[in-house]
């Protein structure tokens, strides 16, 4: 740029600031207003949307699909077009060139003219790049980011139209075409957003992440019931397990209590975590941690440990609101229902064996219908029949079934608590109501 041009620009600028505005007090209010608006927006976002909880790191879980922050999504998507050997072109060469072009823009854009009608090439290229970034971002985004993007478009389009109409210079040659282009771009983006949202409509699996101790305890309790009860008993009291050795011989092994004070006082949370993760293969306990071939994540292991500690350790301060025993006590004359009484007992005492993939005469007890109708010897419960197979077995009687003896239930260790047996008996007696309403209707 020659000195003459520079002088022209500087003079024009000098003229434009004569009698124009002062930062203070003319325009600073706008800056303050925008800052204040952003501040409120931040508080609103933090309060109403919060931060999405995520589970603890599990380096063994290679199935986890990582997602970068939304503003890197376009790169992520862009890289998909450069598979294998070419990846570095998409990862390093092209972004590197673009970054260089961005930084040094004023050095190679030698066009001294500033009005938009005189820099069509520059505007065209920039618009193309920005559109590409926006479209790549949408292609890679989830419903949530799509929604946010959509709202932002609306806002942005609004602001754009507004500022085009309100522009200080009234007659702008490119105003009409600009409005047309903006409208078309907006429609196209809306279309892409809509189509992307539809494409992703199938719900993705949500992992529940516990944050408070009561929540962790209850998740831990569920996991314990399913994974551990068959060997350690519902209260960690232990018992006996049968292990089949490599040569097919069966051997009965005692399992000591894991809920005794002895155990609770001598083992730290870390050591419980390690034992459960690692298992005790030599003693008959399989590993549960993903790192050692099991299927529990670090968060899940932590929930189990929290459950054990707060339930069995008499020194633990159980936080208010924590449910230590989820089985409600049955009052005199009350009729138990599946929902309120039977389900929690089954979950804690029976489900660890009576679920898919275990030996149980196909008696899957996962839901109400299953308890009534499943099993090789179904029905195992018959309304009003005090000789129902289920009632017999939990009261210590073996039953001859179609394919051999049905043992006492639960087969190892102690029988379940008398209060629980009572729940089953009174439930069958009353006709096995499913919901609390059904039960109270029967009680009348």
């Amino acid at each position: 740029m020659n000195d003459e041009m520079k002088k022209k620009i500087n003079d024009k600028y000098e003229a434009s600031i004569q009698n124009a505005e002062r930062f203070w007090p003319d325009s600073i209010y706008k800056d303050l207003l925008v800052a204040f608006g952003l501040f409120i927006l931040l508080i609103g976002l933090a309060t109403f949307l919060g931060v999405h909880p995520e589970p603890k790191v599990d380096p063994t879980d290679a199935t986890y699909v990582p997602r970068p922050e939304w503003y890197f999504l376009f790169l992520f998507e862009f890289l998909k077009y450069f598979p294998g050997q070419l990846e570095w072109v998409g990862a390093a060469v092209i972004p590197g060139i673009l970054v260089g072009l961005l930084i040094f823009l004023p050095l190679y854009d030698k066009n001294p003219l500033r009005h938009n009608s005189k820099r069509k090439v520059a505007l065209g290229i920039m618009s193309a790049i920005v559109s590409a970034i926006v479209i790549l971002t949408l292609m890679a985004s989830t419903i949530m980011t799509n929604m946010i993007a959509f709202i932002l478009f609306l806002l942005l389009a609004g602001v754009l139209f507004f500022s085009l109409y309100k522009n200080p210079e009234k007659e702008i040659a490119w105003k009409k075409p600009a409005l047309w282009v903006a409208s078309f771009a907006f429609l196209a983006l809306t279309g892409v957003t809509y189509q992307q949202t539809l494409a992703m409509a199938e719900p993705t699996e949500e992992v529940h992440v516990a944050s408070s101790v009561p929540e962790k305890m209850s998740l831990g309790q569920d996991l314990y019931s399913i994974e551990c009860v068959e060997c350690h008993g519902p209260d960690g009291e232990g018992g006996e397990i049968t292990v089949t050795a490599a040569d097919g011989t069966e051997e009965k092994l005692p399992v000591k209590s894991i809920s005794s004070n002895d155990e609770m006082y001598t083992r730290s949370d870390e050591s419980f975590y390690e034992i459960i993760s690692y298992g005790q293969p030599s003693l008959g306990m399989p590993p549960f941690g993903g790192a050692h071939g099991g299927e529990l994540s670090p968060s899940e292991l932590e929930y189990i440990v929290t459950f054990m500690r707060y339930t069995w350790d008499d020194r633990a301060d159980v936080p208010e609101g924590a449910v230590t025993s989820a089985v409600p006590v049955l009052a005199e004359g009350e009729v138990p229902s599946y929902e309120v009484h039977v389900e929690p007992v089954v979950k804690r005492q029976c489900l660890s064996c009576h679920r898919e993939g275990k030996e149980n005469n196909n008696y899957l007890m996962e839901d109400y219908a299953g308890i009534l109708n499943n099993g090789d010897n179904a029905p195992n419960v018959v309304a009003g029949d005090m000789d129902s197979i289920l009632l017999q077995t939990i009261q210590g009687h073996e039953v001859e079934g179609v394919n051999g003896t049905i043992h006492v239930m639960p087969p190892n260790g102690k029988p379940i608590k008398d209060a629980y047996i009572d729940i089953f008996i009174r439930w069958v007696e009353a006709g096995m109501p499913e919901t609390a309403e059904d039960a109270s209707a029967l009680a009348e």
């Binding site: 124009a20 930062f23 990862a91 004023p106």
Partner: protein, 219 residues
């Protein structure tokens, strides 16, 4: 009394000059788009303030990072608010800085004599992205961990220097305690220091050249 203190300070600091330089600047007529630079600055300051509060409880080790964040969210008074604002502030800042950049592009403000303002600005944009990248790992949850594994892997595919980039980013072959402490230090010391310094330069240049006027037909 107050007057005396004011006079004493003014004599040494020069409030008048400051007022002229910082506030009483003449500007061409602008519009709301001109607020985005100061909005970026505001968000940078907010990130600094909330970030400093977070470091009170945050522990940058793989064993404690996750739990310390849980603690901030559940047990520290208003911890959830501070973390929420820092979390959303990061996204918002990237967005606002980006729009600010587009505004200066479309109003052709980067041309003579404001070339350097733009160049410093684009480095600021890259640094802002860097803050987002390094901050993402700090909660050390599944998402953070795997996103960082993938992102640093990408650095590793560059022929020749790839393995070096990978090791420099991770501090070893895997994403580990060393990666976390590297990212932490970059996130709270190196990048903010660079940002603060360059923002100072950026603002100096703006005061020196004044805000650009919106171009008209003859420009």
């Amino acid at each position: 009394m107050m007057k005396n203190i004011y006079a004493w300070l003014d004599e040494r600091l020069g409030f008048d000059d400051m007022y002229k330089m910082l506030l009483d600047r003449p500007e061409p007529h602008g519009n709301w788009w001109n607020t985005l630079g100061s909005a970026s600055l505001f968000l940078f300051i907010m990130q600094g303030v909330t970030g400093i509060f977070l470091t009170v409880y945050y522990a940058p080790t793989p064993d404690h990072a996750y739990d310390s964040i849980q603690y901030i969210m559940n047990d520290v008074a208003f911890g959830w608010l501070i973390r929420g604002m820092h979390h959303w502030g990061a996204s918002l800042m990237v967005f606002v800085v980006f729009i600010h950049m587009l505004r200066t592009f479309f109003s052709a403000s980067y041309k003579y004599p404001r070339e350097l303002t733009w160049m410093v600005g684009s480095v600021l944009f890259l640094l802002t992205l860097g803050m987002g990248f390094t901050g993402y790992l700090l909660p050390f949850n599944q998402r953070a961990y795997w996103a960082t594994v993938v992102a640093t892997n990408i650095g590793g595919v560059v022929p020749g220097i790839g393995p070096f980039i990978l090791r420099a980013l991770r501090g070893g072959t895997d994403v580990s305690a060393l990666t976390l402490s590297r990212f932490f230090s970059a996130h709270i010391w190196m990048l903010p220091a660079a940002l603060a310094g360059l923002i100072g330069l950026h603002l100096y240049l703006i005061m020196r050249h004044g805000e650009s006027a919106y171009p008209d037909q003859d420009d």
